[in-house]
């Protein structure tokens, strides 16, 4: 499942996409994120399954623009810490 967390407003699109088919619940992204945006919990979109997957915490879903701003590339392209830490490559961004 491709879970898109975030929103679109007048200033742009702010989505973090987590592919739960690829996510193995290792929590490396949770440790890598300096703003504690990510968490690993039971897959809420599939109540009958019991596997653990990463998601964006409720607290940050409506303010990703600000929460993720410190990691945004400024002068040259760079890989974000969460994306870099994810070995199966389950995390992507809309920016």
């Amino acid at each position: 499942m491709k879970a898109n967390y975030g929103y679109k407003d007048g200033s742009g699109e702010y989505y973090i996409t987590i592919d739960t088919e690829l996510c193995n619940g290792c929590t490396k992204c949770v440790e890598a994120c300096p703003e504690n945006v990510l968490e690993v919990v039971e897959n809420e979109m599939d109540p009958l399954a019991e596997d653990l997957v990463a998601r964006v915490s409720d607290e940050h879903r409506k303010k990703i623009k600000y929460s993720c701003a410190p990691c945004k590339p400024t002068t040259e392209p760079r890989t974000l810490p969460c994306v870099q830490s994810c070995e199966p490559g389950a995390i992507s961004h809309s920016w």
Binding site: N4, Y7, P47
Partner: protein, 293 residues
Amino acid sequence: MANSESKEYWRWTESRWTNPDLDWKDGDIISAGVDVGSVSTQSVVMVDGELFCYANMRTGSDSPDSANNSMNWALDGTGLPLDKIEYAVGTGYGRVNVPFAKRALTEIACHARGANFMYGPSIRTVLDMGGQDCKAIRCDHRGKVTAFLMNDKCAAGTGRGMEVFADLLQIHINDVGRMSLVDVEPEPVSSTCVVFAKSEAVALLRKGWSKEKVLAAYCGAMAHRVVTLLERLGVENDFAITGGIAKNIGVVSRIEKELKVTAPEPSIDPQLAGAIGGALFGKALVEKARKKA
């Protein structure tokens, strides 16, 4: 009193229903779903995965009260006591505040499951246009979510936005969709934000636009907004709409036109999708627990 109530153009009709062909005493698993939304609350009771009774009413200021009231109304006259419900699932904004629910589930999973029940297993894309948010969901033939995208940051493209316009134009909420179907489609209002769209609409009215034309411009803007959301996720046929706006022909027909798809006519109140999904998950969770035991 009647006079002042008739002026509440946004007030949609609450409803309840009991299946006359079903006796809960014959059932094995009785499950329930309670969808406490931002604007409306639905309670659905299912007997072995078949609709037994439901109630659909406005959410009050207190979530536990709203959940209790709607469940009491759904059970009213059916003879089924609340404690005979084996598994109740809470969903929607107030999902953690349903006193009698065993588990709270996200409304995204419930809407996909509910749409699968209401419209059939061929549904792959579900657009839920709720009271205060809007969700685009992709699902498989079992109603399992394969991708989703949600926008709950603002009221544009939601039922609440339409209520504001019904009030502004003094047209009953049940009639806005039909009335917006004008011969020549005007340019949509430029702002999708409800507050800005409202001031833009006031300006258009002062310019001499008819109510119908203003409504058409707003429905057009609302449709366009959700279409951009859907396009980000990708639309796969069949396509269905759930939530209160699914009853608004003005928005539905414009979405269909823009996406070049047809949304099936709902056979049951589309506002019930979340609660139906919850009740179906309740049944599945009972079966899973029994299998383990």
